[in-house]
């Protein structure tokens, strides 16, 4: 029986091959490269499912494929490419390849059927992105993760700027690249710091840097720290450095400004990259290095607080937006805030659970938005829509399922995952004020989320059509409805993988918290990367309200469900009428603040303008010193040749003279060596 481990590189390489084929096949490919992409991602999905099954059977592994640099002397670090297949990465592989495949199928309807041009470039970009994201998921060391992290950023730039002939997309692509690159700068410094401190950047194994950090804090090992800093302080700093990249990539405050602009890209790209996978890369990285992060309570508190704050912050901005995809973009920022809240407050399983459910329902919502956009001939303004539910039934019902999941309504997937996040934050936060504050912000974001979600649903699908486009929408085909249906089903049932509250409340039911068992290495996994190991290390203790675990669970669930239904009810009252008004105008000046995103974009531009001197200095160094050295080397060669070639004067007597002198010198040299004199 061939083991799945031999095929893990193929999971990454299949989409890469489709990238190459689309790049060189150009216009000659069937459907301009779509079929190649669909085949490649379907192949990756099949292999990922097989890997998932083999991990279920206890065959998790870590393997190094290629050593591309070995250290010398005292610094014997090796830089490698390898794969780490454990429960977390196997789960993520399935999520990424499934969403990628569905997006490829959807692209047939969104791009091919709409007659877009330059499609081979689009499918090449999607293929490269899928390959990079899958490579990031299986990465077994921080440097390899960083390299693929940058690659997905590059693919995001290429795909956002797909319609580069218009003014908006290239500018949005540059913004996305620059803002995430700013965070990645800190990430890179963090990677170097990890290497310098631990001598290794491996995620797993007894010699991995989380294990070494744990040993160092127990006094069993020594690691290098700069200037004699205490180890715990230094680990906090390193964790915060890597967090810079995470905040950029997962669009948390303050580096969230790129994600709404990234909606300039085609909608399938938004669904794949800016909903389900690339922005998940940051959260996945924290989960991957969780054994390192739990060792520093300060970093955990910062992660939780930033997450909770972002959840509320972005949710408020989503309330006033006019365009369908903009609401979903702010929703994405907000939901990733929830995941960071979970990670920061010790809810590892809750974060991964929400990552999974969010990937499905957010991709569903984006693809549904894409379907609406096709129907509305690429007009995204919700105030021009209305009454689409009769004309686009499949889209409506799946979009509704996704919205119910997003708002956190029982029994859809989002309810279970969001509820678990809030529960973990509550029980760990009763002793920690920062975590509690983050919990409160996350809780306040729940009704806001439900409100903006259902405002979006009612404005788009309910009521009377408000424009001729809405009265007579373009129809969509199976290649749009198929992925929507698959994701719609998943949005409903995915909650079933981790029905923790049910297990806690009903005493006779045991063992249905599958995700907990999966991430706890109950069915096999890599030593040291299990949720109980993290729970041992984290600085939190669980406190319960009202006398016990079960009342706390019930109270938490009731509060969050009640708030969600309250938000939904408000949206129902305001917007589920035949001809809704723009009620957000009643907010007055607050609306302007929210609509302009709290002026964060202007603030960042102001910062950039006022730090020109720093950039200027770096530019001078680059052009003067570095370029100067390179140009200087070449000018030495040019000048010396300019002088030396004047020996060739063309006059025969000169040549004869030089010959004579040369002969004499040669004789003298040979004579001295050979002892002729």
């Amino acid at each position: 029986m061939v083991s799945a481990s031999a095929y893990v590189p193929a999971i990454v390489l299949l989409p890469f091959v489709s990238f190459i084929v689309a790049l060189f096949g150009r216009e000659n490919l069937p459907k301009r490269g779509a079929y190649g992409g669909i085949a490649a991602t379907a192949g990756s999905l099949a292999l990922s499912l097989w890997v998932l099954l083999s991990v279920r059977n206890g065959e998790a592994f870590q393997e190094t494929y290629y050593t591309w640099a070995t250290g010398v002397g005292a610094q014997d670090w090796t830089l490698t490419f390898g794969a780490l297949i454990d429960p977390l990465s196997a789960l993520m592989l399935v999520i990424v390849s499934l969403v990628a495949m569905l997006v490829h199928v959807f692209s047939l309807g969104y791009m091919n059927d709409e007659g877009e041009r330059d499609l081979p470039r689009y499918y090449a970009g999607l293929g490269l992105f899928t390959a990079s994201m899958l490579g990031f998921v299986i990465a077994d060391n921080l440097l390899m993760a960083f390299m693929f992290f940058e690659l997905v950023g590059l693919c995001s730039y290429l795909l956002i700027g797909f319609h580069f002939r218009e003014p908006g997309p290239p500018s949005a692509a540059k913004k996305a690249f620059l803002v995430t690159r700013f965070g990645d700068y800190f990430f890179l410094v963090g990677v170097v710091a990890v290497f310098t401190t631990f001598g290794t950047a491996a995620f797993a194994g007894a010699e991995s840097f989380p294990a070494l950090a744990e040993a160092a804090l127990n006094g069993e090992a020594t690691v290098w720290t700069p200037g004699g800093l205490a180890e715990s302080t230094w680990f906090t700093i390193v964790g915060l450095l890597v967090l810079g990249g995470v905040i950029g990539k997962s669009a948390q405050f303050p580096l969230h400004t790129w994600l709404p602009d990234a909606m300039e890209g085609p909608t399938p790209v938004s669904a794949l990259i800016h909903a389900a996978t690339m922005v998940a890369a940051g959260v996945y990285l924290v989960a991957r290095m969780y054994g390192f992060y739990v060792l520093s309570p300060t970093t955990m508190a910062i992660i939780a607080f930033v997450g909770g704050f972002t959840a509320l912050f972005a949710a408020t901005m989503g309330v006033v937006k006019r365009e369908l995809k903009q609401v979903l973009a702010y929703s994405t920022i907000s939901q990733y805030g929830y995941m960071m809240l979970a990670l920061g407050s010790g809810g590892y399983v809750a974060a991964v659970f929400h990552l999974t459910t969010h990937a499905f329902f957010k991709a569903l919502l984006f693809l549904g938005a894409g379907s609406v956009i096709i129907a509305m001939h690429h007009n995204e303004d919700m105030w021009e829509m209305g009454g689409l539910k009769d004309k686009l039934p499949v889209t409506y019902w799946t979009f509704l399922a996704g919205s119910l999941a997003l708002a956190g309504i029982f029994p859809f997937a989002g309810f279970w995952s969001k509820d678990e996040i809030l529960y973990e934050a509550l029980i760990h936060g009763l002793d920690e004020p920062l975590i509690l504050g983050a919990y409160v912000m996350g809780l306040l974001a729940v009704p806001v989320t439900a409100f903006y979600t259902f405002r979006m649903v009612f404005l788009t699908f309910h009521g009377e059509p408000r424009s001729s486009l809405a009265r007579d929408p373009h129809s969509v085909r199976w290649n749009v409805k198929g992925p929507l249906s698959v994701l719609g089903i998943l949005a409903v049932v995915t909650g079933g993988i981790n029905l923790v509250p049910v297990q806690k409340i009903v005493p006779s039911i045991e063992g249905i918290d599958f995700l907990h068992k999966w991430l706890n290495n109950d069915w096999g996994g890599i030593e040291g990367l299990s949720s109980h190991h993290y729970a041992e290390l984290d600085p939190y203790s669980s406190q319960y309200l009202f006398g016990g675990e079960v009342p706390t669970v019930l109270a938490g669930a009731a509060v969050s469900l009640g708030l969600a239904i309250g938000g939904l009810a408000l949206a129902w009252a305001l917007y589920n009428v035949a001809d809704p008004d723009e009620h957000t105008d009643k907010l007055g000046g607050l609306k302007a603040l929210l609509y302009n995103n709290y002026y964060q974009d202007e603030f960042q531009v102001w910062i950039a303008d006022n730090t020109r001197a720093v950039a200027g200095g770096a530019d001078t160094f680059d052009q003067g010193v570095i370029d100067g050295v390179v140009n200087g080397v070449s000018s030495v060669s040019l000048l010396s040749s300019e002088r030396i070639r004047r020996i060739q004067s063309g006059v025969v007597s000169n040549y004869a003279l030089l010959l004579t002198l040369g002969l004499t010198t040669l004789l003298v040299v040979f004579g001295l060596i050979g002892g002729w004199f």
Binding site: L657, T660, L663, V668, G671
Partner: protein, 125 residues
């Protein structure tokens, strides 16, 4: 024209003297190490023996290597040099030299060649 001017002659003289000095030093240093010259037998005819060597006939008493191949190649080389010299000397606007010789000199005395300018009009400058 005159020879090169003073400074060039000085440097040439210097180079040449240096070379002569090096060669002479080497020779003088090796002066004593040659054995006595083996001359040729008094009654042997050197010319005959050179002839035997050229044709690879081993009849002479004086030892020599065979030079038959070199002899033939030198003959070839001399032939080639002759042709090269003729070719280099040929003028472009003239017919082949052979034709000038077959008319009994009529061209030179009273034909095209006589009507042309004498070739040595330029003289020594």
């Amino acid at each position: 024209m005159t020879d090169t001017d003073g400074s060039d002659r000085a440097s040439a003289a210097l180079a040449v003297t240096a070379l002569f000095a090096v060669l002479t030093t080497v020779v003088v240093g090796a002066a004593g190490s040659f054995p006595d010259p083996t001359g040729f037998p008094a009654d042997a005819s050197i010319v005959h023996n050179i002839g035997y060597a050229l044709f690879d006939i081993g009849l002479g008493e004086i030892p020599a290597e065979g030079f038959l191949a070199a002899f033939l190649i030198i003959a070839l080389a001399l032939d080639v040099a002759l042709d090269a010299a003729i070719y280099l000397a040929k003028r472009e606007d003239e017919g082949s030299i052979v034709s000038a010789l077959t008319d009994g000199g009529r061209d030179i005395v009273a034909g095209d060649v006589a009507e042309r300018e004498p070739a040595d009009e330029g003289g020594d400058r």
